[in-house]
Amino acid sequence: MDPLSWTGQIAFLTPLLTLVFGLLGLSVLSWIVLNAVLPENRAINSAGGSLSLSSGPRDIASLAVKLCFLAATLLIFSYLVLGLILGTQAGIIGAMARQFLPVWIALVLLFTLSIAFKRRLGLYGKLFDSPIGMIGFALVMFWVFTGVFGAFDMIVTHDDPLAQISGLKNKVPGTPLRSPGEGDFQWYLLGGDNLARDVFSRTVKGAWEVVKIAPLATLFAFMVGITLGLPAGYFGGRLDTLLSFLANLILAFPVILLFYLLVTPEIVQTGLPQYMAIVLFSFPLIFFAVLINSRFRTQPSKNYLWLAIVLLPLLMLYLLVVNDPGSKVDFLTKTIDIIDIPGGILVVFVSVVFVNSPTVFRIVRGLAMDIKTRDYVAAAQTRGERPWYIMLWEVLPNARGPLIVDFCLRIGYTTILLGTLGFFGLGLPPESPDWGSTINEGRKLLMIYLHPALPPAIALLSMVLGLNLLADGLREESLKD
């Protein structure tokens, strides 16, 4: 087998792309310069009231930018389409485009459906009015789908991210396998790493590590932050002083030091992460119990029904997650305890929640302090509503805009934190394919071999960028109401 080049048969596109990118850069630069140099023109209208399309240098520059941008997008798109058609004949890019086929299908489906029904989908639908938000959402969903499909071994070229194939140590992208077995993919698309493992497959597998931990950890941090932040903001006084002090205490801790102290095998031995999990994971239970109880307080029969429907499964789940045979918290018999979270993941999860919740707490507290001065809160008070009803049903829904935006940003931040943990080799097992660990391994030989460290770095960058853009789009659209 021959090694794959980057572009194979579609190499003819490359000079074109270089040209278009060059033009794009030039036009953007001139656009910025022209806008900075030329004075703001005042719209002076002709008597008829019609605005003629002026063709000043400013407009020409902005037209040029648009055209170049369009051309670049088209070209990149044609790389993908041609790659999909030609497969490995279109080189590494073609092969990768084809590997990602399930992701493309899922993305196209998702976007078509969402845009078709966007008027009925509330804030989510409005996202599709904002180009920035759409780009962000596409980036995020790309990695989500990659993570999910990757977990089912649909995208990876070599199923086992730990498999080492001899002769491929630190080999450049496109290197063929020496003696491929029957049905094996014949190349290492993005080369091999220091231990002769496939970089492409590891990066795809790494997406799943992020997708399974980051959103859930952020959600838990929000549960904790909301459950504590609402009363602190609403009641104020001593409770607020105490909770704020605790939050500031955690915030004053340098994050890395905290991780180093919490995420070590020795600490896992003491059972501390599990005790913390017992406390932190109980917040969703408290949250839903209070939520339902405050709503149906006046109708006991409905109240008990709903409490039972929601709380029993949650409680079950809680016990299963918290219990871990062989550790300090082991009270269920083995047959019942079907969910088992590896200690490493649990400690990572718990510490990420722990680090994030004080910030959420501060945001929620501030929002609650603002919203509690509204008349509808006073109206609720004057009809004798209990404080928790007011907090959860009158205050919280009206704080949702900023909270959703922050949720997106915080998933990005959590992704960065997970990467940091991986970078320092904390928590997750050393051979784990998560991006942080892969970057950490790759950096050691960075001066000589670039390819093992760059793909996970770019993956992480694009995912966090997507989340940031998504948050920006959501913020913009939610302000438009």
Binding site: N45, A379, Q381, T382, R383, P397, D481
Partner: protein, 695 residues
């Protein structure tokens, strides 16, 4: 220096002006075919409800419409020059120098991080290039002109150190710094208290004369326009519908909207039983949903299909009057002097038994002297000082006062959100003053309910209207099943004259008046017997106010409710209340039936309040009383009588009693009480503040 050349013609001439705002979806016309001229030294009023485009006109004159706003037709000429054709530099020379503007929110329009002096000095320094010393001396002069005490200190302070009234005077001073030819005032007093407003209005009028400035005065308040302007232009939904001199428009109106507007505001001649207000039916059209033809058509009594709803309706001159024009095709056919079709006259309801009795109620707060840094001596704020009164079934008791008078605190104590410091509140003979809301039983809570001031804030924005009413029903234990409550909720919507389909709507889909109706429905959902209405209509447009007020009256009649009506607006109080209680800095200064309070003898504060309220009736002559200074802070009240710092009768009391002692409550005939040191003879000497000119 560099002012535009003198011009023999109107200072400002707007002709057939149209503005639009452009959004992604469509063009929204904000102002259409608008013409007005302001002669030198003349004050022209621009009146209309919110959203009618009056502020857009002001910003259009300033050529400051933002990115989306654009002039699509017509011209704005200032001293004969078209402002739209000026370059950015020329325009900068005009702004602040020739045309100055005064805004609604004085606090927001002053830079919080810049000393007042600097902000004032900037104007002549930019436009006339004068030195700093000269600019400062000019600033000093103007600050003296706007009658601010201690001008030196004023110049060295930051905006937040001044009270609202002082800030507005500074904004006025800033506008006058370069002696502009035209002054635009955009609702300059809306954010101020009534008595402060009166003083500011007087100041504006005097300074306009002194400096010979033309003025464009924008307001929603017809009374204010009457007091300040020579001519007036009435706007409705982006169009000028009538313009002319004050006398012509107020007494010889030629447009149905103007007429309807005057019929819906509570003038002294109105009476809730004999001459009820006539609300304008329907709603203000949204800018992109305007009807064809006459914009007012769908709400007009004289509407004639085929004529009123087709084609553009031009302004037509009214023959015989001075520059009086109207935008109505039928104005010559309508009999403008026909008597108002009196709506159903209602029986005066007799107040029933006493349901609420307040005795010597006191509410003190302890506040840390220094809020930010904590610690320090605690200060006692006396928010309510010995309140005593009773309220009967089906009675409307108005509580009148300006900010800081303690009316909201009283409402909180009554509702149980705070507990009283001393004294008692008896509801049907039971003490509730120490029972916080959590400890009250459902019956008590649902008996005493509240209607809030700000319609945009009174409903939870993320819950449907129906859900919010049903929640109140659940809390008040009304109905036994969800179906029953659903039914009851729909009935409540009927009660407040809202279509049942509104149950499914979100609050943001409702107009201000509709939200306020939902608020009323919610308050009455548990069969409330006492309803505290905290300025329920003050944030609403004039034409909607009447409808909401009427609704309250009607429900009260039906349910025999006791209504505690908190307001600062004496016109509406006179219209609907049976008894009035006037409060000042936590004290009840006067209490009596409406007739007693509105006729002499008055408490000196009540007297000033009467004089301060602008009345849109040319046949009324008011005695002119302007209170000096601002309302003292409740944190630091004056010694002795709370009103002594501003009282004009103070020197009639011998021995400086006002400075040293809180006056006793003086019982006069039939439940009329006044808290004042003035002797009976002096009180007898007082003459009525408001008189009909004909008398």
């Amino acid at each position: 220096m560099n002012k535009l050349a003198e011009h023999n013609g109107p200072t400002l001439e707007i002709e057939k002006l149209s503005f639009s705002f452009f959004t992604r979806l469509r063009e929204i016309p904000a102002v259409m075919d608008f013409s007005v001229a302001v002669q030198p030294g003349e004050a022209v009023g621009l009146v209309g409800e919110s959203g009618c485009g009056k502020s857009t006109v002001a910003l259009g004159v300033m050529q400051d419409l933002g990115k989306n706003g654009r002039i699509v037709g017509g011209s704005i000429k200032f001293k004969g020059r078209d402002l739209a054709e000026m370059s950015a530099e020329e325009l900068r020379d005009v702004r602040g120098n020739e045309i100055a503007m005064i805004y609604q929110e004085p606090m927001a329009s002053l830079n919080p991080a810049m000393k007042i002096g600097r902000q004032l000095m900037e104007v002549p320094m930019i436009h006339e290039g004068v030195s700093e010393q000269e600019a400062r001396s000019r600033a000093l002069e103007v600050v003296t002109d706007v009658r601010l005490p201690d001008p030196e200190r004023m110049l060295n302070s930051y905006p937040h150190q001044l009270s609202g009234g002082q800030q507005q005077r500074i904004v006025i001073a800033m506008a006058l710094m370069s002696k502009p030819a035209l002054l635009i005032l955009d609702e300059p007093t809306t954010a101020l208290d009534v008595t402060v407003e009166a003083a500011v209005v007087e100041l504006v009028r005097d300074l306009g004369k002194k400096y010979g400035t033309s003025m464009l005065f924008i307001s929603h308040n017809l009374g204010l326009i009457l007091e300040t302007c020579d001519r007036v232009c009435v706007m409705y939904s982006g169009e000028a519908v009538e313009r002319g001199s004050i006398a012509d428009v107020f007494d010889d109106m030629q447009h149905p909207y103007t007429q309807a507007l005057f019929r819906s505001i509570p003038l002294p001649s109105a009476d809730k039983n004999a001459h009820p207000l006539v609300a304008i039916p329907g709603n203000f059209p949204l800018p992109h949903e305007r009807p064809p033809g006459c914009n007012f058509g769908p709400r007009c009594d004289y509407f004639e299909a085929g004529r009123c709803d087709s084609g553009q309706i031009p302004m037509a001159d009214v023959a015989g009057n001075d520059r009086h024009a109207t935008r109505c095709v039928k104005f010559q056919e309508i009999d403008w002097n026909a008597p108002i079709e009196i709506g159903e006259q209602k029986e005066k309801t007799e107040p029933g038994k006493v349901v609420l009795k307040i005795e010597n109620l006191k509410k003190y707060y302890e506040v840390a002297a220094n809020a930010l840094f904590g610690g320090g001596a605690k200060k006692v704020v006396k928010a309510n000082e010995t309140l005593s009164f009773e309220a009967r079934e089906s009675e409307t008791l108005a509580i009148v006062g300006e900010s800081g008078c303690g009316k909201s605190t009283f409402a909180k104590v009554l509702m149980g959100l705070e507990t009283a410091t001393e004294g008692q509140i008896l509801l049907d003979g039971q003490n509730i003053e120490q029972t916080a809301i959590e400890a009250r039983d459902t019956r008590t809570i649902s008996d005493v309910q509240m209607v809030f001031q700000n319609p945009f804030d009174t409903l939870n924005p993320s819950m449907t209207v129906g859900r919010q009413i049903i929640r109140a029903l659940e809390i008040f234990d009304v109905g036994t099943s969800d179906q029953e409550r659903q039914q009851r909720m729909l009935e409540l919507l009927d009660l407040v004259n809202l279509p049942r389909a509104f149950a499914e709507r979100m609050p943001r889909q409702l107009s201000g008046g509709q939200k306020q109706r939902v608020g009323i429905a919610r308050a009455f959902s548990g069969g409330a017997r006492i309803v505290v209405a905290d300025e329920p209509v003050s944030a609403l447009d004039v034409s909607v106010q009447a409808a909401v007020t009427d609704l309250l009256m009607e429900i009260q009649r039906k349910e025999k409710t006791t209504l505690l009506f908190i307001s600062h607006d004496l016109s509406i109080v006179r219209y609907l209340s049976d008894r009035v209680m006037v409060m000042y800095l936590g004290h009840v200064v006067e209490l009596g039936s409406t007739d007693q309070v509105f006729a002499p003898p008055y408490h000196p504060y009540t007297e000033a309040l009467h004089s301060a309220v602008p009345i849109a009736d040319t046949s009324i002559v008011k005695e002119h009383i302007v209170l000096e200074g601002d309302i003292p802070s409740a944190m630091d009240p004056p010694s002795g009588c709370p009103f002594q710092t501003r009282c004009r009768w103070k020197n009639e009391v011998p021995g400086g009693l006002c400075d040293s002692e809180v006056p006793p409550v003086r019982q006069r005939e039939a439940g009329h009480q006044i808290k004042c040191h003035l002797s009976d003879e002096v009180l007898q000497r007082m003459s009525p503040v408001i008189k009909m000119a004909a008398e």
